[in-house]
Amino acid sequence: MRNEEVASKIFRLELAGEIPQLAAGSFVEVSVGGMYLRRPISVCESVPGKVTLVYKVVGKGTTQMTKLVRNDVVNCLLQLGNGFQIPESSRKALLVGGGIGTAPLYQLAVELRKKGVFTTFIAGFANQSEIFYQKEFENICDKTYYATMDGSFGHQGLVTELLPECDYDYFYACGPTPMLKAVTAAIATDGQLSLEERMGCGFGICMGCSLMTAHGAKRICKDGPVFRKEELVW
């Protein structure tokens, strides 16, 4: 196990064990000492036997997670959520990430590369100090662009302002809700978006994370977290 700070308040946690290949866009529920509920964290990178999570320190649980050290045993529920589905028809993908929401897009970029899909990655951050996995995305995507609110790196402004530069026939997005809404409004093609909600169980039994969609009530943890654009009714 490794647990290291890769950007300001952003940690990369590598877990090893009896872990199958986990789907891009699926998540794990991490049990944190002293906290009653588990913390949902997306799969950032996965190979059999190993999973990498990237998390931002925002409260008690994620602060506690930074204290994990080598050989600590972490109890996780794996293979939660549906994950991204890559449509066969799409040849040019756009990945849109906002802040820590870029984490699950990495495993997706790996899978798109395997399928030979031309991939453009655009990401928005508050400032340069929060950017993580820049090299990794540059290595695996055909094009990468950044926007920061303060202009400390890449384009100054919103990630949606980068859209005109991109060539794509399908999109995938993960980030804060206002960003997802702006992206949905600005992009004409079909796509998939990964959502967040406070969770009780994380595996579909408590109805804590419900979302009303065009196809009725869905659970973000079990029927999502990834939804197709046309399902969302915001």
Binding site: Y36, L37, R198, G200, C201, I205, M207, G208, C209, S210
Partner: protein, 301 residues
């Protein structure tokens, strides 16, 4: 061999361990995780006559040793529960099933019970949900209100009727007695306690509905106390519920007076907990020199 079986209102359960309503869905997701047939019974998600989406999110707030929920009885409605969800659960589960019936008026409770009751072995009447306006708990907080709904449902209920009570009351014993006199066959104690959390950074309540039901290990002593008081005052069996997380907790609840025990919140953080409790009970019984679990029910004077 130790004997785990108990008799709940004339229904024999192979053991007293029952997942609590709202913390096990309708069993379908759990059946993918383990073989449910190790359980004594299952209390399925609270059901209303009409389908309900429930309250806005966030519906979950973490607390020390527990959580708040304000789900608000999200369910597909009595018809779908009776015709699809329970038959689907029967494919995986060959033990008695408890239907959890909720409503907003006497007629609503009766209609829901009539639709669901014939599909289950036991009906659990929820007059204690704190998460819906003018429903459930409005009936459960006075002896007269509780008696009126029990009487109304009793007439149309062909199954043993267990009434699930709210702890958000001054005198639990008087409400329990009113239910017994109105014809209840048993009581479940307790539903969640009304609670609240605030996000001090955003200066807003964590839950969209502001308040929600508090559950988890933190409420175990309160549940145990109410099980004790009520089982001493009533003749009908009591199902203990609230904060149960281990085989030891089950035994403690039974010593306090519970005939069977429900496990709620713990399922959310440890999906295997009910199975583990059933597996651990025999060794804990051996250690405590208990041969027959039903013998310890209410042994505390």
């Amino acid at each position: 061999m130790v004997d785990l079986s108990v008799n709940l209102c004339g229904v024999t359960l192979q053991n007293p361990v029952i997942p609590a309503s709202g913390t096990f869905g309708f069993g379908a997701e759990m059946a993918e995780i383990y073989d449910l047939n190790v359980l004594g019974s299952i209390s399925v998600k609270g059901t209303t006559f009409e389908p309900r989406f429930g309250n806005p999110t966030p519906r979950i707030a973490e607390c020390p040793d527990g959580l708040l929920n304000s789900v608000g009885l999200q369910n597909p409605g009595a018809k779908v529960v009776a015709e699809e969800e329970i038959p689907n659960l029967r494919k995986h589960f060959h033990q008695p099933i408890i239907g959890n019936v909720c409503g907003f008026s006497l007629d609503d409770y009766r209609a829901c019970c009539e639709t669901v009751a014939t599909e289950v072995e036991i009906v659990e009447l929820n007059i204690s949900c704190p998460n819906v306006h003018n429903g459930g708990m409005a009936f459960g907080t006075t002896p007269d209100g509780a008696a009126s709904v029990v009487k109304a449902v009793r007439e149309v209920c062909p199954r043993p009727l267990i009434v699930k009570l709210s702890p958000n009351v001054g005198d639990i014993v008087s409400i329990a007695k009113a239910c017994e006199e109105a014809g209840a066959d048993g009581l479940t104690l307790i539903n969640t306690m009304l609670g609240m959390r605030i996000d001090i950074r955003r200066r807003k309540p964590v839950l969209a509905r502001k308040m929600g039901g508090f559950s988890g290990p933190a409420i175990f002593p309160v549940a145990l106390r109410m099980v004790y008081q009520v089982s001493k005052a009533c003749r009908i069996p009591v199902v203990g519920c609230g904060g149960v997380a281990s085989a030891e907790d089950v035994i403690e609840m039974m010593m306090a007076g519970a005939t069977a025990v429900q496990v709620g919140s713990e399922n959310l953080r440890n999906p295997f907990v009910c199975k583990q409790i059933v597996e651990n009970l025999p060794s804990v019984m051996n250690e405590l020199k208990i041969n027959k679990l039903s013998e310890i029910i209410g042994i505390i004077e």
